[in-house]
């Protein structure tokens, strides 16, 4: 039996982060992962992340993955791939299967960072080929370059459902509808809005009642649900789709921890069965840690911090750093983690109904039910102002821990204030140069540059545009409203794409000036 000072299960964001902290202090570290490649689900995330600079905000997930792998490599982390940990026994004995071979290892400490598995819901026809998990869709299109389907219905309006819907559109698929049994959208409003403005309809308080087809999906029926989530007869709607995608939450993959004998709890706020840990991830078994989604469903940014916390704790446990050193690092990491756990979507707020922002502005019901703000509602938010000449219009209406827009503006036009969750405001007296850095920096694609009156009866609106084909300058089409309806004729003035925008093209369209505050997307005519 081989002995290691720390054995880490899972080479995803938290496992790798833990391994980096341990290995760089000279600890003999090994990471087992059942997959062919390290990085967990990070390499499927092609959207820009939220948060602050410290949290890699505005960097796309797969780039964060690349940085993490590089850091792990430099720290000398040993990652064993295609290695499934099938057992975790008393005294931290780890059993690993590779191919047809099973080997035993002994860890002085063990960090379990196995992540989470997708939840599913069942309905008649749910086993048909063509019904897939949202994660499967991401794997197909973002890792392997394969379209999951031609026309897709998404079930689930949490951030996964919203983000994957947008990614499906980017991959060139059609999204027929976004459906959720809940009465309101679960994910960020900005993620919903960028899907809604392309014309995807949202059906809240609806669920799938049947997937049609003999050998594979040929269509789907959804129905409205009552307050007990039971389908209401006579409300059926049929969609002609070839794929149904499910994004109905995640559950911690905590089986190994349960097997180890550490104390567990059933905690719905954390997504299910999780180990009982202290705030840095140590379980009831000394030297056995849990980090990332396995200890409670959050997202990759917090998983990476939790991993680092566990790695530092292990270092101190094994005598590779002093207690003072550990306390100092943990205090910093804790601050980073706490800042991610602020705002309307904080774990502590799960299940709570939030009716107003921290600024005291009523939350848009239309946004929560249909994925977009009405023209009237949008005027209430501090990022939406009217000025002469080109200026940013920030349709950021929920308190989310995110602030790249503030740093993006070279002229200091945008401020968030002391709390990272505050809504951005346009600073008084600021002069916008129209550089577009704020538009490209907004992970929620909620910033637009608007010149409300160009003097000739027209206005220009600059929108973030991450689709192919990129419309040509001078081409004609339509300005779409926030819910994707054709509003007016529009002409493409320019499409800017520079390295600093990181693949977010800035499309400027000319529209009649009465649509300056309404047109938010361009559709080729």
């Amino acid at each position: 039996m081989k002995r290691y000072e720390v054995i880490i299960v899972g080479a995803g964001p938290s496992g790798l982060s833990a391994a980096i902290e341990a290995a760089k202090r000279g600890i003999k570290t090994i990471v087992f992962d059942e997959n062919e490649k390290p990085g967990g689900q990070l390499f499927k995330q092609i959207h820009k992340f939220f948060g602050s600079k410290k949290h890699h905000a505005k960097i796309r997930g797969f780039k964060i993955g690349e940085e993490l792998l590089k850091e792990a490599d430099e720290a000398g982390v040993e990652v064993v791939l295609n290695a499934t940990v099938i057992g975790l026994y008393a005294d931290k004995e780890v059993v690993v299967r590779r191919g047809d071979e099973v080997s035993h290892y002994k860890g002085d400490t063990v960090i379990v960072a196995t992540g989470a598995a997708e939840n599913m819901v069942t309905f008649p026809g749910w086993t048909l080929p063509g019904v897939i998990g949202a994660g499967a869709a991401q794997t197909m299109m973002n890792l392997h370059g394969i379209k999951p389907g031609k026309k897709i219905l998404m079930l689930g309006s949490g951030n996964v459902g919203l983000v994957v819907s947008f990614q499906l559109l980017q991959a060139g698929c059609e999204v027929a509808a976004l459906v959720d049994a809940a009465p309101k959208i679960g994910g960020y409003g900005v993620h919903a809005s960028k899907v809604a403005r392309t014309g995807v309809p949202f059906y809240l308080s609806h669920t799938i009642t049947k997937a049609h087809g003999e050998d594979h999906v040929t269509g789907v029926t959804i129905s409205k649900v009552d307050e007990h989530f039971s389908p209401i007869e006579g409300t059926e709607k049929y969609f002609d789709v070839d794929t149904i995608c499910m994004a109905v939450g995640l559950s911690p993959m905590s089986q190994l921890l349960k097997m180890s004998g550490c104390q567990m709890e059933d905690n719905p706020k954390k997504g299910g069965q999780v180990p009982i840990t202290d705030e840095y991830g140590e379980t009831s078994v000394p030297g056995l840690f849990a980090a990332g989604d396995v200890s409670g469903i959050e997202e990759a940014s917090s998983a990476m911090i939790e991993g680092r916390m566990a790695g530092v704790c292990v270092a101190e446990y094994l005598g590779y750093c002093t207690e003072e050193e550990k306390e100092q690092i943990l205090a910093e990491l804790k601050e980073d983690l706490e800042s991610l756990r602020q705002g309307m979507f904080a774990p502590a707020n799960r299940g709570k109904e939030i009716t107003e922002t921290e600024e005291g502005i009523a939350v848009s019901k239309n946004l929560l039910q249909h994925g977009f703000l009405t023209e009237k509602e949008v005027e209430k938010y501090p990022g939406v102002v009217h000025k002469v000449g080109v200026h940013p219009v920030m349709e950021c209406t929920q308190n989310i821990p995110c602030n790249p827009c503030q740093d993006a503006c070279p002229r200091g036009c945008i401020t968030i204030g002391e709390n990272i969750t505050y809504l951005p405001i346009v600073a008084d007296g600021s002069k916008c140069s129209g550089c577009g850095m704020c538009v490209a920096s907004c992970s929620g694609q909620a910033i637009f540059l608007v010149d409300e009156d160009c003097g000739d009866g027209s206005a220009t609106v600059t929108v973030p545009y991450e689709f192919f084909p990129i419309p040509e300058e001078g081409s004609k089409g339509f300005g779409l409203s926030r819910n994707g309806e054709k509003l007016c004729e529009a002409t493409v003035v320019s499409v800017k794409s520079v390295a600093a925008y990181d693949h977010t093209n800035l499309l400027t369209m000319r529209v009649p000036k009465e649509y300056a505050m309404a047109a938010r997307f361009f559709k080729a005519g």
């Binding site: 048909l128 080929p129 063509g130 197909m140 973002n142 370059g145 394969i146 980017q170 991959a171």
Partner: protein, 104 residues
């Protein structure tokens, strides 16, 4: 047809060289090293297996090797998770019917 030629964020997908394999005796093309399931999907194959008791079709579901819905007979071996098994030149892939190859 099902392949993304160029992606607005990821650019052109990085794929292995083109290889030939067979699916239920029919010759198909795929990219070396990509999961067998992806090559089948690119060729429009939806059904990977039929269940033993009720003979119901199953295809890709999780695509990360967890659910085992996509298992097939590969080079004569049963229950191969095609979503995580890399495609090789000349592979013989067969629809799995219960616990045998289809038609066997």
């Amino acid at each position: 047809m099902n392949r993304i030629e160029e992606h607005p964020i990821l650019g052109e997908p990085q794929k292995g060289r083109e290889v030939t394999f067979t699916f239920d005796g029919k010759e198909m093309k795929g990219c070396e090293g990509e999961p067998i399931a992806m090559a089948l999907k690119a060729n429009g194959v939806m059904i990977h297996r039929y269940t033993k008791k009720e003979h119901k079709p199953r295809g890709i579901f999780c695509a990360i090797g967890r659910c085992t819905d996509c298992v097939m007979v590969v080079n004569g071996k049963l229950n191969v998770r095609t979503c995580i098994t890399p495609l090789e030149e000349g592979m013989v892939v067969q629809t799995q019917d219960g616990v045998t190859a289809k038609g066997a």
